[in-house]
């Protein structure tokens, strides 16, 4: 197994879990290490229990893992919840002025720091978080200078005195740890690489900017709000109009208005907001105006658990809106893919003049990962499809909904001489005139319906099929979709290392599904298990409805927390032993 090191920092909301988290992330990324961070938190501004896991290593880190190597509890509650879950070799650094450990499990080292004493020796009162970070770095074999640089940057705005205070406080903690705590057996490695630390929401926003989005609108809703925040902060530099609208109905309609007028447009929401958008989505399909909508899933139904993750909105996406219409739905596989998929989705939506839905979730959108700057290349191919942007020279009458073989009709934007037309959400003829009221006409209705639906074949041809990763001939094939890619990958590696050869089929494009390719692959599999973060097996049911394929087993989780590799590993073993065909792993960490 490859080397990784995970730090867990927990406390009440408002106690400053984020700051040490960010410091670790910067240090790891600057050492050329990969990282993945997951923050388990609640819908509370102060109080509760927040627990950040940040895992690093020289090779790609795709999930937050099974093991904490270093625990930093910022209050007694966190100590009590997490100490028992640590394994041999792990260490706990804590402020012994206010936190007392129970009996630690065998092999777990307690590293008490007295913030009071350290502050006295340095004559400065420094946050316990900073002291703990300093002590950790000493134990990880990281030189103090790195922290010094970061603290100077962090406190620069507060003046030299504060910078000095923090650095000297941190130095005394660092020295204390060097003298009193044994370092971890492996010093934190270093590579020549450099990474950016990115959340999925930032990647989605940047992907939109790279794709040429000029209009972004939203109504705040966790866990999608990070997209709005990135857009708002960068709007003026990037020349992107950002609007906070009165509700998600307004969002989708405003977005379609802007898109219809010729600009690339995007909006993001979570399941509840998406529900309000469904009628608008149908309008996008009916008037054939492309729009890209991001749904960052959280645990439902209804308001649900706003700060917890789930893959529970698949059927909402599949069924959003009345009637049949072409739509494209895809789920990014990891944080860098949030960027890439967004750029691809804009091209497809433009080409096929229909809604494009990106199905992210809290795990990706609010998770942090190290991303190679090469994977955030803004210079992406732009395909605006059959968009007319210059005046009609020949005076021929323009048919906005011209019936074509591909189902795609050249789209003129308002303002152009020679192309004046009216679009309508009522059924219409090629020239846009309604056939829904006075002149209902079954022949024309059928022709228009078929014209729109013909685009589906084009979309199918444009979307690459999924592929199998890992050993070709395996004991088990794990099937997942979207954000579970990383954790399934690691579970498969563990299983394979333990003698149960396991491969993986991860689905990115949900509509169109490429059902034939999927069944072709799964036919060859010895044992198939679908892994998903929801109650009813939404993808399993979808796959069955599209292909009649029924897997041998299911692993599902719907407690709000993401899978950890051992959840999948143990479930697979259970199923191979014939104990069950539906595993619902228990989440041991109480957050």
């Amino acid at each position: 197994m490859k080397y990784t090191f995970a730090v867990g920092i927990g406390g009440a909301a408002g106690q400053g879990v984020a700051t040490p988290g960010n410091i670790f992330a910067k240090i790891f990324a600057r050492r050329g290490l990969h990282l993945f961070a997951y923050n388990a938190y609640q819908s509370i501004i102060r109080g509760g229990h927040t627990f950040l896991t940040i895992r690093t290593g020289p090779e790609e880190v795709t999930n937050h893992g099974d093991r904490i190597d270093l625990l930093i509890p910022l209050n007694q509650d966190c100590m009590d919840r997490h100490l028992d879950l640590l394994g041999p070799g792990a260490a706990v650094i804590y402020n012994s002025d206010s936190i007392q450990p129970n009996n630690p499990p065998d092999g777990v080292r307690l590293c008490p720091l007295s913030a009071r004493q350290l502050s006295a020796s340095s004559r400065n009162k420094v946050e316990q978080n900073t002291l703990a970070v300093a002590a950790s770095l000493s134990m990880m074999g990281v030189g103090f200078q790195t922290l010094e640089e970061i603290l100077s940057q962090q406190f620069k705005k507060k003046g030299d005195a504060v910078v000095e205070e923090n650095i000297s406080g941190a130095r005394s903690a660092y020295q204390y740890a060097t003298e009193h705590f044994e370092p971890f057996p492996t010093a934190l490695p270093r590579t020549e690489n450099g990474y950016a630390v990115v959340t999925g929401n930032m990647a989605l926003a940047m992907g939109g900017a790279a794709a040429g989005v000029k209009f972004y609108c939203a109504y705040p809703m966790s866990p999608s709000t990070g997209v709005l925040h990135w857009m708002a902060a960068h709007a003026r530099k990037a020349g992107i109009m950002v609007r906070q609208v009165e509700d998600e109905i307004g969002v989708i309609n405003m977005a379609i208005g802007a898109a219809h007028t010729g600009v690339r447009t995007m909006c993001a929401t979570s399941g509840g907001g998406f529900a309000l958008m469904t009628e608008g989505l149908g309008m996008s399909a009916m008037i054939e105006t492309p729009v890209v909508v991001i749904n960052v899933q959280r645990a439902g139904p209804s308001t649900g658990v706003p700060t917890k993750t789930e893959q529970g909105d698949l059927w909402q996406m599949l069924g959003a809106g009345l009637g049949d219409y072409p739509r494209i739905i895809a789920a990014p596989l990891d944080i860098p893919d949030c960027f890439k998929l967004t750029t691809e989705m804009h091209n497809l939506a433009d080409r096929f003049q229909c809604p494009g839905i990106i199905l992210s979730d809290l795990l990706l959108s609010e998770g942090h990962a190290s991303v190679d700057p090469k994977d955030l290349d803004f210079n992406v191919p732009i395909d605006r499809g059959e968009l007319i942007t210059s005046p009609n020279g020949n005076g021929e009458p323009y048919k906005r909904y011209l019936i074509t073989e591909s189902g795609i009709s050249p789209r003129a934007i308002p303002g152009l001489p020679g192309y004046v037309h009216t679009v309508a959400t009522d059924e219409h003829m090629e020239d846009g005139v309604l056939i829904s009221d006075e002149f209902t006409d079954p022949v024309k209705r059928r022709a228009m319906m078929e014209k729109r639906q013909r685009k589906v074949a084009g979309i199918e041809a444009a979307v690459p099929p999924p592929w199998l990763t890992g050993p070709a001939d395996a004991d088990v094939t794990l099937i997942g979709w979207g954000s579970t890619k990383g954790v399934i990958e690691e579970a498969a590696e563990i299983l394979t290392a333990e003698g149960i050869t396991t491969n993986q089929l991860q689905i990115r494009w949900l509509v169109p599904l490429n059902g034939d390719t999927i069944t072709g692959i799964l036919k060859e599999s010895r044992r198939t298990i679908i892994v998903e973060n929801n109650y009813s097996g939404q993808f399993a049911r979808y796959l069955r409805s599209e292909t009649s394929f029924v897997p041998d087993g299911h692993i599902r989780k719907y407690d709000g927390e993401p899978f950890m590799p051992h959840h999948i590993v143990e479930a697979v073993k259970d199923q191979l032993a014939g104990r069950t065909t539906l595993s619902v792993p228990a989440h041991e960490i109480r957050v």
Binding site: V197, G257, M283, P414, H421, L434
Partner: protein, 299 residues
């Protein structure tokens, strides 16, 4: 440079004739609104391709299909949200929104409120017939207390909203009321509304001759009084407008209630539109140096 001889042919109402004729009931008030709108556009010499007419759903909302401008016949209640997107994407366009009282004040009420507050530069013409026409005669947000409709067969127990008062309270910067039985007056109001830089609202009495037998042409004819006939009325005075707006009964004021020009329209207030022209005409993508900065921030 060779001289370019531009023959500016004045536009006429005929230039705005739509692909099909209206299918409204004979005598419907909406005919007058359509005629006034065509006349206003022709008088202002706005070419058909320079205007976008946007509506929701309803009898009145069928209007964009009957006029020769760019048009969008959107969803019930959503026209103002769509129109805001259109205007911000290309602020060179003249944006006109039309629709019914159910569309605008019922299902679309939230967008109405916020479009006013944002001062989006467009003309919103509510074709107010105090009834739901297309769905065959149910109570509307402007139906009077006690009105018998198909959904209130024993008389409505809910009071109506007053769109003019609402618009004044919400901060609309141009507020007027018209009557489709006064086409010249209505055309004049529309011209002022289109010229006004900011959100212009005209609530138009547009009788439904089929389902509203209370608020008929003769009913309005007897009651409407033009604010313009009162030389002492000052439409820059918000308090005076509020007072007039509450008049209802034997005398009902029509005309321009209020206008202020000291508040920038949304497209003027939005710094992203300061330079570079309409978004719709801008280059797609992010300059390489800027993209590098965006990634650098995260390292």
């Amino acid at each position: 440079m060779a001289a370019v001889i531009e023959t500016q042919v004045a536009l006429t109402v005929a230039d705005f004739k739509g692909k099909v004729d209206p299918d409204w009931c004979p005598g419907c008030g909406d005919f007058g609104v359509l005629a006034a709108l065509k006349a206003a556009l022709a008088d202002l010499n706005i070419a058909p391709h320079e205007a976008v007419t946007i509506s929701g759903i309803g009898c009145s909302s069928n209007l964009p299909g009957f006029i020769n401008t760019y048009g969008m016949h959107t969803l019930h209640g959503r026209a103002l949200a769509v129109a805001t997107g259109v205007k911000l994407a290309n602020h060179d366009l003249h944006v006109i929104v039309t629709g019914g009282d159910g569309d605008g004040f019922g299902i679309g009420g939230n967008h109405f409120l916020h479009t006013m507050r944002r001062n989006v530069d467009l003309l919103y013409v509510a074709m107010d017939n105090q009834i739901y026409g297309l769905t065959t005669g149910q109570c509307s947000p402007t139906s009077r207390l006690g009105m018998k409709t198909k959904s209130t067969p024993f008389g409505s127990v809910e009071g109506p909203i007053n769109p003019i008062v609402l618009a004044l309270a919400a901060g609309a910067t141009f507020i007027a009321r018209g009557f489709s039985g006064e086409p010249k007056h209505l055309t004049e109001l529309m011209k002022q509304g289109i010229r006004h830089k900011g959100f212009s609202f005209i609530d138009v009495f547009s009788p439904c001759v089929t389902y509203n037998l209370d608020n008929t042409y003769p009913w309005f004819k007897q009651r409407v009084r033009k604010l313009e006939s009162d030389s002492s009325y000052d439409p820059t005075n918000w308090d005076a407008a509020m007072e007039k707006a509450q008049m209802w009964g034997d005398e009902i004021p029509i005309g321009k209630f209020f206008e202020r020009t000291d508040i920038p329209a949304l497209d003027e207030a939005e710094p992203v539109l300061d330079v570079g022209g309409p978004l719709a005409h801008r280059r797609v993508g992010i300059p390489a140096e800027l993209a590098r900065q965006f990634v650098e921030e995260l390292m």
